[in-house]
Symmetry: D2
Subunit: 423 residues, 4 copies
Amino acid sequence: MVVIGKVAVIGGGSTYTPELVDGFIVHRDEVQVKEVALHDIDPQRLEVVGGLVERMVRHAELPTRITRTTDRAAALDGAAFVISQIRVGGMAARIRDEHIPLAYGVVGQETTGPGGTLKAWRTIPVVLEIARDVERLAPDAWFINFTNPSGIITETLLKHTSLKAVGLCNNPINFTRLVAGLFGVPDEAVFLEWVGLNHVNWIRRVYVEGRDVSADLMAKVREGLPFYPFDADLVEALGVFPTWYLQYYYYPDRKVAEMRAAGKTRGEVVTEVERDLLRKYADPSLVVKPPELSQRGGALYSEAAVRLILSLVLDRRDVQVVDTRNGGAIPDLPADGVVEVPCVVGAHGVTPLRMGPLPETVRPLCQTVKAWEAWTVEAGVTGSHRAALMAMVTNPLVRSVDLARVLLEEMLEANREYLPQFF
Amino acid sequence: MVVIGKVAVIGGGSTYTPELVDGFIVHRDEVQVKEVALHDIDPQRLEVVGGLVERMVRHAELPTRITRTTDRAAALDGAAFVISQIRVGGMAARIRDEHIPLAYGVVGQETTGPGGTLKAWRTIPVVLEIARDVERLAPDAWFINFTNPSGIITETLLKHTSLKAVGLCNNPINFTRLVAGLFGVPDEAVFLEWVGLNHVNWIRRVYVEGRDVSADLMAKVREGLPFYPFDADLVEALGVFPTWYLQYYYYPDRKVAEMRAAGKTRGEVVTEVERDLLRKYADPSLVVKPPELSQRGGALYSEAAVRLILSLVLDRRDVQVVDTRNGGAIPDLPADGVVEVPCVVGAHGVTPLRMGPLPETVRPLCQTVKAWEAWTVEAGVTGSHRAALMAMVTNPLVRSVDLARVLLEEMLEANREYLPQFF
Amino acid sequence: MVVIGKVAVIGGGSTYTPELVDGFIVHRDEVQVKEVALHDIDPQRLEVVGGLVERMVRHAELPTRITRTTDRAAALDGAAFVISQIRVGGMAARIRDEHIPLAYGVVGQETTGPGGTLKAWRTIPVVLEIARDVERLAPDAWFINFTNPSGIITETLLKHTSLKAVGLCNNPINFTRLVAGLFGVPDEAVFLEWVGLNHVNWIRRVYVEGRDVSADLMAKVREGLPFYPFDADLVEALGVFPTWYLQYYYYPDRKVAEMRAAGKTRGEVVTEVERDLLRKYADPSLVVKPPELSQRGGALYSEAAVRLILSLVLDRRDVQVVDTRNGGAIPDLPADGVVEVPCVVGAHGVTPLRMGPLPETVRPLCQTVKAWEAWTVEAGVTGSHRAALMAMVTNPLVRSVDLARVLLEEMLEANREYLPQFF
Amino acid sequence: MVVIGKVAVIGGGSTYTPELVDGFIVHRDEVQVKEVALHDIDPQRLEVVGGLVERMVRHAELPTRITRTTDRAAALDGAAFVISQIRVGGMAARIRDEHIPLAYGVVGQETTGPGGTLKAWRTIPVVLEIARDVERLAPDAWFINFTNPSGIITETLLKHTSLKAVGLCNNPINFTRLVAGLFGVPDEAVFLEWVGLNHVNWIRRVYVEGRDVSADLMAKVREGLPFYPFDADLVEALGVFPTWYLQYYYYPDRKVAEMRAAGKTRGEVVTEVERDLLRKYADPSLVVKPPELSQRGGALYSEAAVRLILSLVLDRRDVQVVDTRNGGAIPDLPADGVVEVPCVVGAHGVTPLRMGPLPETVRPLCQTVKAWEAWTVEAGVTGSHRAALMAMVTNPLVRSVDLARVLLEEMLEANREYLPQFF
């Protein structure tokens, strides 16, 4: 069992925090954290969420100390790991990101389309500030980014700071579990040739116990796979399996119609879920992660985070799908950009496997979204209006330059208070 | 002065033919063609157009023999040059290509979007038949392709036949003349760093007498350039000059609105222009190219064609913008695909200049359209429904998989008689 | 514990076989082999070596059945693993490979220089015959190649057969142990950024427990590292650590002088070692691997082989350095060639890590040797004299075309009986 | 006819200067130079050579003014073209470059091997000083480099200054004339697919009047081509035609034997030729370029120089083989390095043709020499001993690290006075 000094959680008031701490409880035989330092700008949430995780830890009889602070430097100082799960502008900003595009018939979603662009731009100035603190106070720490859009934020950190940053998403572990369930095997028996970017990825081949079961999985898709939103004829034409978020790119009209029909945006739904959750969290008799948390959308996040931390600390050199610098793993994407691919994770860091060229059925979409990401990073860091226009124009969900211009103007204005780089 | 034995014109009944023959008349001091063999499947047009060009040649006192035939083999046999300017399905098919997409709010245009896809698919079986004849009857001939979509047809020929094929478009020569006019110099003083594909290209730098005048041209765009359909802020953001057909990609909503407002499609307009032209052509007193031809859209075609022929015959090794195999001239496009770039043209053939990576502002659009072209070629040659769906899905003007599927079905059905490979 | 049906050992009469079987004894808790089928063309060696390993297995009370046969098909039929450790032409041919170049002042060595070329050419026809049998009789078997030159033979198999072939060498495991010893840690704590080809590789970075100890190792090289044959100033200039066999490329004059001074070639020494070993093996009282075997040169081979087999069978997906198809892992080497790099090994197969471009200090040597390997494969498979001359000319130890021609002629002639492809 | 203000010739006292001025006389109908400013550090040579060219110009009744100065700034000020043909250390240094390697059995030659390395290192500090003057006094001038090793010096200028530098060699024009002679056509009818580096290049295909005559030329090589030093079987194996200087790489032992047998080095021979030439030049009755100049080795230099100047001034955009930045013209060489390939030359500058990957028969040699060039530039600019060792080790004519070290030490010492960057 390995002992870690301090894990700092930026955005510690997030409703996800109990999920993360639960991970440390579940994996107590492998890793013990001396201190979990929760930082948040919202003292009230910090108290509610911090209170719950403190009770969880005590209940589990873990020696871990839970500290809470609104002083970021105090939280970061000397941390071995920094976990970032912030949401700049909160749910209110997310809901604006959803509504404005929708009014123009464009997908309003927090990581894809114009919504993802604006979320990135609000986040980048803050995450760079955090990074400057980390560079100063915990220069050897691993920085694990959960903040969406995870690939873009990780790329910002890798291009513009000296942080040892890794991006994480629960999409890979969820798909792994889906396959494991379908084939009746444990997660460990599944190996996915996962290629692409965060939220824009495809599975080229699916192995179960080393056997290529891609054709079997295709047959299941044809029969109809619950919660898998892609038509079999598209999947067959692609020759690879698109994952969840690609529905926004393949079926934007369908998604826009659904969103409009829904009445509420996802952000509005989540706001209610969170309100309920926080009410539950505040209950002093609650000493374990409540089951409702899984509706929040972060299922298996703790699993992903703890597995990553364990391999970084224990030098496991096992294979995990994370967001890291490409460096030629996928030769038809820029070398300096971030990709989401299987990587060997050890104490030395994160080394991607050689994935080779993108399948030609998905190459242009992946290249286009990657270009959007790069422009989003550039505009988010520099505040360049030219880069901002290019980000909007390049996004495949924005169908014309005229629309790009209108959306850009309206959304910049709506987020003015969070965008010091632009105003 | 060089003498060429036979120039075969496939689609010789095209209203463009007088333009081409006029080129030989204008350049009579440099090149003399012994025989121009006009082939067409429409005997009536052949008679009208053939009659005019015969009168033109006689009036110019050129020794060139004009022959007309509906027997393709006879026309091709022993030709030194084959010029292809066919239109499979005629204007009626073009008008269908325009109307069907427009009904779904998609640009209906003969070379971009779904219209371009279907025009390619109608043309590919016929052009491959022609190619088999050329391989047999004129294996050393240069095959100059004017038939649209010119890049796709040329790629088909270079990938699937042994022809010495070159694609040609009047877009480069028109832009050259535009610049020459703006700066008050002859065409020869202009050098354009032209990068991209047929109808999807940008000018990276503009030189006049070797001086980089890109910034001057940008200033003129900002002041407002007649007939240049791009907003200055887009051009400035791109950092390169888009050319004419890119308006369909940058402003699809604007173009759809215009098309809908116009009442008539371009195909319908051209049908009338052609009817009038052919009436004029039939007038036995007409002995020169009528001025109305320039409205037809092929301005300077003859100039481009004759310049290409002269350099191929005279081994001039000068620089011309044509469509040819990429081979790394633009490293971020497939090596085996066709690109439109400045090339050295000599008797040895066509060698592209090293243009280097695409500007990052235009890279994803260019890569996406190139992928659409490649799928269009594959589907057009094999009749694969999977490739056909990928062609539709990949086209940037088709906004979703659902729309792609609907358009594909309806347009294949509407073109059934011309698509033996699919049915 | 996993059970494997049959392991076929081609060249089972090799003095290395006890080493391999010892590996199965040591790892008995993880893997159990039902049958080890030894095949050899020399019945006498088969009897001696087979007798020993049978006694070893019995003594260890392993249920493994040892079978011996001179019928290759019988040995291969139904095997789950095929291990190839043949030596075509035996030690006599090796000694010729050493003497002929040496007479011209060229390194005479069994895997580098002209000796490696000829060893490859003798081996290729035989290994292709074996491969045809494997394709027929054990198409799903993993083919583990120990036969030198291991990279070239593996490349031959991957380019010209359908075998699931992996090349193996004890060089990586030996260097790992060297580092482990220097830093006082177990092998597992060491992670090497191993780049290059079989016998032509460098270590870009050395990690111990995830810490980059490259500078510490460099300091030890400067102090003088026993058995490490490279000058500190060369290693510092390279910026990476060359491994053992590179001394032939960096110090060919020194090595030629040593070889000449030695009186005996390595092949002659090994012949004697083997004679003694076989005498020992024949002693019916010997029931364990004799300690003298380690002098033979294959130290830790069994360790490497068993680790590879275990990961392939148990789907471990751990990192091992093996020889496999490049596919862009090192972008400045051909994608279809074999490289030696860290790979994730699981039941799905072998996936290289993305190693990125070669360090520029070693790039040209590595590219040159890779080109020699590719020509050697081509000539070895086709018998093309042009390819054979290119192989000789390209080898960096052959200093001129004139010398290449002389060596080629003399060495082909000396090996005539083993080179059906050339004669 | 175009008028050029001032052409500055650095190293104007070179015996080549009359060759250059003769070029202006021959091409008087196309170009007229107002002033040729000769600069040299040797006033005596300046007087002799300057005197001759002045008489040549007067005799030809050209209005060109010949000025002579030892003040470099005065010569450069306001020049439209700067031509560099300096020799740092003079013939004495060259002779040392030849003798030292030869003593170790290594080719002693002024552009290849260790001699080329040292010549580059002596030249780089001086050429960078000149470049600083040009940046200041003639920032828009074209800088035409004749100074050997021409590729390395041009790469130095393109990497480390802002000069519009082009490298020139008479090798391409000589080979063109050779082919023209063999096929009985004028130079203009020949088109060579020239790939590689200065003095390390191959002709992939030879066209005469657009016809591929490579096979015909190969037949002539087999019959025996005067002055073509390559065996037919090597040329056939390569599949491309090596040019003159490659004999040092393909036949180093043969060349060393010849050099040793010759008694005198090439530098010693040239010293005598130059002494005689200068004596002739001093003769006031001499008013034209003396025929003996052609023995000096720079045949057709003037032709190459004047053709280059004319295309740069007249915006001819014709194809010439010069040394320029690669930028992907040959994708398997570094993009930022200098290559020697066919380029389109116009007033906009020099744009290489897309030559595509190197033939695989020559790739490793070309890549190795390119790496040597890059290390030579780096060491020459920085004085880094590590880079200097890498330059020596990488050179294919230096057969071992031990030899590299010895040669490096001895040759640095012998050139101490010219190597401020190292000492």
